[in-house]
Each structure stands twice: as C-alpha cells, then as structure tokens.
C-alpha cells in the first residue's frame, strides 16, 4: 500500500457516485456482502465502518473477524467503471468515547432516529485495481491461451 493509493481511496470515498460494499465471512465461511454506505478513511489510513445494528450479520461477522483474524474485503465501484478491491483486517470496534459519539451524532443528523452499535476500524492490507479494462489488458498480455478462437478468426466473408 502506498500513500498515493491511499489517497486514491480517499478520493473515491469522497465522491458521492462511488458505491462501496463490505464482504465478511459468516460462521460457515460463506461470504456476506452488503453496501457500506458510511465508509470513510481516517487520518491514519484506516477504513472506518459504522454499523448501526447490534444484530446485523455484518456486525457479527466483523466481531468474528477480530476474534479469529478472518479477512474482510471492501469493494469500491466508481462512476467511470473503476473497481477497487481493498483487503483488510479488522483492527478495533469503538463502542464508546469521542470517536463513537461523533459518528453517532453525525448519523442521527443525516438519518433521523437511528442507533449505532459500533464504529469498526479496518487496517488496509492490500489494494487491488480490479477495473475490467485493466484486468482484460493484463490477461490478454500474460495469458494468451484464455480466449475464444472466434475472436481471432479471419472475419467471415460470406455474403
């Protein structure tokens, strides 16, 4: 992870058209992905994910992640088709104190009468650019066997 890439994440998250999802693992190991509507990046480069409900599957999976060191994956989709995958490790759940209170007040000012279960901090371990155009170019360059032959065939001249 570089400073430049982290700043890209910050820029993506700041853009209102960016769609973010967070994928966690449940007790069977199955992935569970949901929109991460309030995702932010803090000054130290950690992702900040508020969870509103104590009983949400994602909240419980994040707890499982911090207990058993299971990975989480955040996906950012930009308006221009850029896809960024962030692999992370859960660092901490804030359930009280200034950081928690700030998010509690902010969320209630935006959403009305909602509650907040925890503010999760996630360490970024790896950032992957999964944009289709980039992935396609890389695959065609490095794996020329992975394509259907009709794409390479001489154009059909039958009238």
């Amino acid at each position: 992870m570089t400073g430049t890439i982290t700043s890209d994440i910050r820029e993506l998250l700041a853009h209102p058209a960016t769609v973010a999802t967070i994928a966690t693992l449940d007790e069977t190991g199955a992935p569970y992905a949901v929109p991460a509507l309030f995702l932010q990046l803090d000054d130290s480069g950690r992702l900040v994910h508020p969870e509103l409900l104590e009983t949400s599957t994602t909240h419980r999976n994040l707890l499982r992640s911090i207990w058993f060191e299971l990975p989480v994956t955040i996906t950012l989709f930009s308006l221009r088709g850029r896809v960024t995958i962030v692999r992370g490790k859960v660092h901490k759940a804030h359930v009280s104190g200034p950081l928690f209170s700030d998010h509690y007040r902010e969320l209630r000012s935006r959403l009305g009468d909602v509650d907040l279960a925890a503010v999760w901090l996630i360490d970024i371990l790896e950032i992957i650019d999964d944009t289709f155009a980039l992935r396609r170019a890389r695959e065609e360059e490095l794996h020329p066997f992975f394509k259907h032959l009709d794409r390479l065939a001489v154009a059909d001249r039958t009238p």
Binding site: L63, I66, A93, H94, V95, S96, G97, S101, R105
Partner: protein, 424 residues
C-alpha cells in the same frame, strides 16, 4: 527500560491456553486471565490517564485487590469493544502489567506486549455536582455504555456477621465514605437528577443498572429493599418517555409478589439475583446471610418465578467463579467443580434462568482473602459451558452482555448466539 520489559521471563501462558481452546477467542481468554490475575499500572501508564477524559477508580461499590484507593484507571476496553473489569493487584501476586507503548496503554505479560487497551472514557456529567453539592460521579457512576446506581452501600446480612465470605462491600463503604465523600445511601430524587444530566450526552449510555446490599427489613423480609428500588426507578423513569427502558437490577432473590410490584411500578426490564455459588453446602457456608434469610433451594425457585414476571431471557443469576474451590470446604478438583456447577446451571437454564460468572478476585478485607482463585483453564471451560447452556436452551442474554455489563467472559462468547427471534 519500563517495568513491563524488565519482567520479561518467557513465553506468555496466554498463548499456551489459546492454543488449547481454538474455538474461544484469544481476546476473551486474555480478558478472563486479566480478571484472574489483576493488573498493575506502571508510572508511564498512569501518566496516560487524564481524569478529564478517563474514568478513574474510586466510585465502585467493591474494593481493589491491593486495598488502595488511588488515582488509577477504572478499567480497560479491549479492541473488540468488550471491557476488562479488573482490579489493581500487588506486583508480588503476578498481575498483568499495563504500560505505555508509543504513548498508548498496552497489556504486558512477562515483558511482552499483548494487546492495546483503552481506558474507559469519562462521561460528561462527571465534572458536575448535584443540587446538594455532591459530585455527580459519587451518585451515579458509569461503565462504557452503562449508568451504575449503587444506592445503598451496606448489606444488612452483615448485621449479625453473616455477609458473604468473598464480599468487601461494607469495608469499601467505610473507606468510600471517609476518603471519597460517597453517600452510603442515595436520595432517589438526587439519583433522578443525575440520570437526567447523564442522558444529555448523546450516544453514551444504553442501560441503567441498579444494585445495592440486601436490606432485610420490611413487612415481609426485603420489602424495604423493594420499596427503595421502586422509589429510585420511579425517579429515573421520569427522564424517559417510554414506560420501560433498558435496565437491570441485581437484587436479593425476592418473592414473586415483590417482583411483580417491582415490574409493574417501574421501567425495569430485567432482573438478576446472584446466587454466588451453585452448590448448596458451599452456599450455606460462604453466603450465610442468604442461607439464613432465603436458602439455596428457595433462591433458585425465586429465580425461576422471576421468569414469569420479566420474561424468558431477562432473568439470570451470577456466580463468583472460583470460590467454589476456595479453602478446605470447596470442591477438591476443578473437574468436580465444573461438573457440579454446570449441572446446577443447567437445572436453572432449562427453567429459563441464565447463569453468568465473574472471575473471583480475592480481596484483602474478606474472610477468603488468603485463598487463590481458579486456573485460567477452569475459567475458559466454565465460559464455554455456560455459553453452551444458553445455546441449548435458547436463552438470549442481551441485558447482561458486553454492552450492558462487560464483566462476564461467558456472555462475551454469547455475542454470537443465534438470533432465535428472527426469521430471515
């Protein structure tokens, strides 16, 4: 070199135990062990303590293991949001060490940094005084998400010397009264005033908690205790717009009619009556006041009766885990203690009553002060056993979990109980 690093002697026991119990989170094992062994704060750790931002010791109903009242962190928060409610312990008893690492408090064992921790944040009302001039923190204290009301810092079981053998409530009251200006008995109106002030802080509290020593007097035994709780909860209730609000009372085991009165007249939502030890013989010996006034079997029956009043999943009992092994009258082995304790807990669970434990930390001003608590293995096995009973009998423990209490490793495990009430 810091004290923590000077004490480096080898591999942490925590890691060995963690490897034996891969299904139990290391953070919960650490929590149980810190409760078991206590903590020592280095000077560097104390320097990180800011009474304007953090809670400091002094307001609790029970004392410390080193018998000292001094400016120290009230307790610790772990990274998973759970608390470690622990007590400062003399260094010669081999406590964990809290020291500063890069200006952040960390738990150390044998010189090795184990976990980053956080001091409990101070609520805004702690800087204020009540209308009668008492510091508000001496009327209502807090945990990270809970408001604590300790209205009566005396237990009348001690009137004839029949207090519980592990309890220092009376000794702590005397210290608290002299050194900290904490009222022994709170004025319900003043409690209400402080609760009103506390609720101004948004996003801070998710439960009201009430406990005191037993009060045997009244037309029926403990009627005065019930009346006092009702008076306080009514004053507290004036600050809520709903008839009921998330709340827990730890009280004596009351008769069903008393419980019904308590439920009907207040906003109380859950009830806990601590049986302390799940064995009748040991109960009679170590809890002579409870045995004298109620008795072991009747205590259990009253817990079961309480489920009819408060509902399934909202009644539980607490045990002081480790006293069942203490002294010549305790169980002779941890295996026997575990088997007998879980059998009794299962008898309660099948009737809708959950059991939770706290790790017993022997305190200096108690008859059992010279005894040791149990092994870390024992506490982990007990946590698993009690959690598994909640799974088997479908008993949620929302009112006594990490948010509202934080003192029970077994209810930490139950943060991932199935959500039985939901059909997804």
């Amino acid at each position: 070199m810091t004290l923590a690093l000077k004490r480096k002697t080898g591999v942490a026991e925590l890691d060995e135990v963690s490897q034996r119990y891969p299904d139990v989170p290391r953070l919960i094992i650490l929590k149980a062990d810190v409760q078991r062994r206590g903590v020592h704060y280095t000077e560097a750790a104390i320097k990180l303590l800011d009474p304007a931002r953090h809670q400091v010791t002094g307001t609790h109903i029970f004392g410390t293991r080193d018998g000292v009242i001094a400016l120290r962190p009230e307790s610790l928060l772990l990274r998973d949001g759970s608390s470690i409610i622990t007590t400062p312990t003399p260094l010669d008893e081999n406590p964990y060490v809290v020291d500063a690492l890069d200006n952040v408090p960390w738990l150390f064992d044998r010189g090795m940094p184990l976990e980053e921790v956080e001091y409990w944040p101070a609520p805004e009302f702690y800087s204020k005084t009540s209308s009668s001039g008492v510091p508000m923190k001496n009327i209502v204290s807090t945990r990270p998400q809970r408001l604590n009301i300790f209205p009566y810092r005396y237990c009348t079981f001690w009137n004839n010397g029949n207090g519980c053998a592990f309890c220092d409530i009376v000794a702590q009251m005397k210290k608290g009264g002299k050194e900290l200006n904490i009222p022994a008995k709170l004025d319900p109106v003043e409690v209400g005033e402080v609760i009103g002030e506390a609720l101004k802080e948004q996003g801070r509290f998710s439960a009201v908690f009430l406990t005191s020593g037993s009060i045997v007097s009244g037309a029926r035994p403990f009627d005065d205790e019930i009346d006092y709780y009702i008076a306080i909860l009514k004053e507290v209730g004036k600050h809520f717009r709903t008839a009921k609000y998330p709340s827990q009372l730890i009280g004596t085991a009351f008769e069903k009619s008393q419980l019904q009165r308590l439920y009907d007249q207040t906003g109380l939502m859950s009830y806990t009556a601590n049986i302390e030890v799940l064995d009748e013989t040991i109960f009679n010996r170590y809890c002579p006041g409870k045995a004298e006034w109620i008795g072991y079997q009747e205590w259990k029956q009253r817990l079961v009766d309480a489920v009819d009043v408060f509902g399934p999943g909202r009644v539980n009992t607490g045990i002081v885990a480790g006293v069942e092994l203490a002294g010549p009258h305790g169980f002779s082995s941890e295996d026997e203690a575990l088997e007998r304790t879980l059998a009794e807990a299962e008898d309660l669970a099948r009737q809708g009553v959950s059991t939770v434990y706290i790790v017993w930390s022997p305190r200096p001003d108690t008859p059992l002060s010279g005894c040791k608590n149990a092994s870390l293995d024992y506490y982990i096995r007990l946590a698993r056993g009690l959690h598994n009973l909640r799974l088997k009998y479908r008993l949620p423990i929302d009112h006594d979990g990490y948010r509202h209490c934080g003192n029970h490793p077994d209810t930490d495990l139950s943060r991932l109980l199935p959500l039985w009430g939901e059909k997804l």
